[in-house]
């Protein structure tokens, strides 16, 4: 017999073994296998717009291409292929670097880009922002990891997370050895946050010896799509003040809003509006990225976080952690710069940029409606409207016979349903259990990202599958 490996699965870091990352979990792996076998797969498991056909915005790509190949700007013919404002912008960003895109930047990112981010936040919120408290990161997940890592000292430190939640949070809390303290969102109340629920979960956690030190919220919601009201955010901040909790604001979908009643409002702005003792005490980290919005530049890994009310020495400690990886990728930093300072009216590239971004956002808004309406037309399926973000999270009322069949197959009922959906249609979703859901309820998360032309067919395939599934486990539609 071969000797046991040093890295035998029995002998590795337990936190890694325990963590679950559903977005790239069993469903994704099965979908990848089917794709290898030649089946056409519609990947709606991750918010990855370009993978489903969204075209990149032209101007930012022109600028970054020129930054990658600055020698083009020494060629007299460069203006045949590039507009003058893209050339000017590329030169501007290169002046932020010492050595172009190939040189490490400061571990927090290029000072010039951090200044541009601070200016953007100032314009957005009406309150000053300090570039020294802005960190650029390789995607927002990296920033979240840094914050959770510094916050969590051991398994008795807890972080409140919404249920359903994006599994980045549960996975990272597990990885760094802390405890997730759930607070349930109310599906009936449009997935709103309920501070009473949070308070009772904190009390419950304390009884178990857990110190709740952080609270994650996602606005607009993932996977739940709700947009939080200002009143709701005020309650949340008051709660964090009273309970001495750091607020982690996942605001990566701030450009993805599909209704007009509740425009995006940042936690920073609400906090500052509230004045002392909130505005000068509540510790806040807010995350934003180029992967979402109308940009969808997921593969570039560009993001930032802003710190508010943090102890200066703690900021230094975060700087030290960021330094281990030396530098976030520099092209991604340029994308962040472009996101916070897009072309303005009067710029050569403005009309095209405005047209492209409006077309994407308008289409996402239509798709949000098409998918919600589609799900609500299906037997045993109900779905809140996607007010923001990129996801639809319908509730599926699974018949008892289906639950029993799932049990026989050794699968969670929603995993069973999603696997059947995948095999029948090629639609790759994530089961609600990957995000958490109230005991006895079952959900499916899809993105709203299939192209607008494809959605009717995707929804038709879903409806047919669902009808067949329900007929198999519940009998023919009684209302027919």
């Amino acid at each position: 017999m071969a000797p046991k490996k040093v890295l035998d699965p029995e002998n590795i870091n337990e936190n890694i073994k325990k963590l679950v990352y559903a977005v790239r979990g069993e469903l994704y792996i099965r979908a990848s296998e089917l794709q290898k076998e030649g089946k056409k797969i519609i990947f709606t498991n991750v918010g990855n717009p370009h993978a489903l056909g969204q075209k990149p915005l032209t101007f930012p790509r022109q600028v970054v291409a020129l930054c990658q190949a600055p020698f083009l700007m020494d060629d007299l013919n460069v203006d045949i292929l590039f507009p003058a404002d893209a050339i000017a912008r590329a030169k501007h960003y290169l002046s932020y670097t010492s050595g172009g895109l190939g040189a490490y930047s400061d571990s927090r990112g290029l000072p010039g880009i951090r200044k541009d981010v601070a200016d953007f936040i100032m314009r957005r919120d009406g309150y000053p922002s300090d570039p020294e408290l802005i960190f650029l990161t390789d995607g927002a997940s990296k920033g979240v990891t840094h914050l959770l890592n510094i916050l969590i000292r051991n398994e008795n430190d807890g972080v409140l997370c919404p249920i359903p939640q994006y599994p980045l949070y549960s996975a990272t809390i597990q990885l760094v050895g802390g405890t997730l303290v759930p607070y349930y969102l109310s599906e009936e109340a449009g997935w709103g946050l309920d501070v009473k629920e949070m308070r009772s979960q904190v009390l419950e956690a304390r009884k178990k010896g857990i110190t709740v030190r952080g609270l994650v919220f996602i606005n607009p919601g993932n996977p739940t799509g709700q947009c939080l009201s200002e009143a709701n955010l005020r309650e949340l901040i008051q709660f964090c003040y009273e309970e001495h909790i750091v607020l982690l604001a996942d605001e990566v979908y701030q450009q993805n809003i599909y209704q007009d009643e509740r425009p995006f409002i940042s936690a920073k702005k609400v906090l500052m509006d509230m004045g002392p003792p909130y505005s000068n005490n509540v510790e806040l980290a807010s995350f934003h990225t180029v992967s979402k919005g109308y940009w969808g530049e997921c593969g570039q890994r560009g993001a930032y976080f802003e710190l508010t009310n943090m102890h200066p020495k703690t900021v230094d400690e975060l700087y030290k952690v960021a330094s281990i990886a030396l530098s976030p990728n520099v092209p991604g930093q340029i994308f962040v710069g472009l996101m916070v300072n897009p072309p303005k009216p009067g710029d050569i590239s403005y009309p095209k940029f405005a047209e492209e971004s409006k077309a994407i956002l308008d289409s996402l808004r239509r798709r949000a409606h098409m998918m919600t309406d589609g799900f609500n037309s299906c037997r045993n399926v109900t779905c809140n409207f996607t007010e923001g973000a990129m996801y639809s999270f319908p509730k599926i009322k699974l018949p008892a016979a289906a639950i029993a069949a799932a049990k026989r197959a050794g699968k969670a009922p929603d995993v069973f349903y999603c696997l059947k959906l995948l095999e029948a249609t090629g639609i790759s979703t994530v089961p609600g259990s990957g995000f958490g859901q109230k005991e006895g309820t079952f959900h499916v998360r899809t993105t709203i990202l299939p192209s607008e032309d494809d959605i009717p067919e995707v929804m038709r395939m879903f409806k047919t599958f669902n009808e067949d599934f329900m007929a198999q486990y519940e009998g023919p539609q009684s209302r027919l």
Copy 2:
């Protein structure tokens, strides 16, 4: 009094507080301050070639620029600015993606690039490599973090690291809560590895209840610049086999070789050459990057690691950890693809590519000699030749009066020396204590990356400073 912060520096993760990252430590921070005040700083603290004027290779930048702006390839004028083989290569890499550079790839990286890496390893070593065991990462540090994270379960798990070592290792071992077990390199023996020393350190560690599970080595060495012989690598592998230790091979400088006696040989090749029971048992992870070599594309964050003899389930667990960050940056992956498959003789772009890369390597070789000779011409300074990598690591014999002055200033003697050097000359180095050194010896790490034209002046400034320093603390040069 303001209430104590949740993230008060007293109340954060202890492992973060304890970790030290010298490359971006006190010296770097002081250098940044001086730069802000207008002083000209020569940053030799990090191996960051483009920051010191090295120009990027043209062909890879052309290819990546086209991948960023694929619409250029629909323009009939594209061939005015781009050669045909760059266009063909860009199309080829885009065919590896689903949605271009803006889409997340698989968490291990694009399958096409991983296949190209495996082919490169096969050509380099003469042994097959499996793309499923290759992970692309945002810089090699990210891969090292994954491996140390899965290896270390608690503070009783130890990892052997060379002293002097690159502080990524000490910092990451501290971050994930393990114990660094030092093995000292022998400066007198050209910084060679001594297996007897390792064995005694393992015994020592065991007495303290530490299980040594991993061994890091860096070849060519950082900061020490030595190139390991095949015989030395065989001893190392035999030792890891006998002691049941995973080998972490930092081989990021494999293209940076400045002597002909010991060309680079990979740990994978030596392992496979040794045959069973070594070749089928010793667990190995090997790291490589686009940040070093003649590429120096640090800011792009492109790298890979290859796993050998790992348990398949452990590979799955690593995949899960990589999935938390969803995807390494895709432009960086394209750079890895280009590094492992550069232009070949007969390609349009080959002559230029060959000329550019040869010029860089030839110059680095000359610079390695210039710096070593320069240091050895200084009073109280001795320096082993930089056989490979990008660093010079001279030993400074500090006079007793300087050590006493450092003590009065509350600084380690080598930090004191480096700060004085910085203030006097603007040369930003890293003190040997940041890498570890034998008790009572003092070193300075510089890169050999200042441009060839600048090096004589840099060495002249160093020599003058050093002479003044020694004269101040030891009196005038006695041999004069």
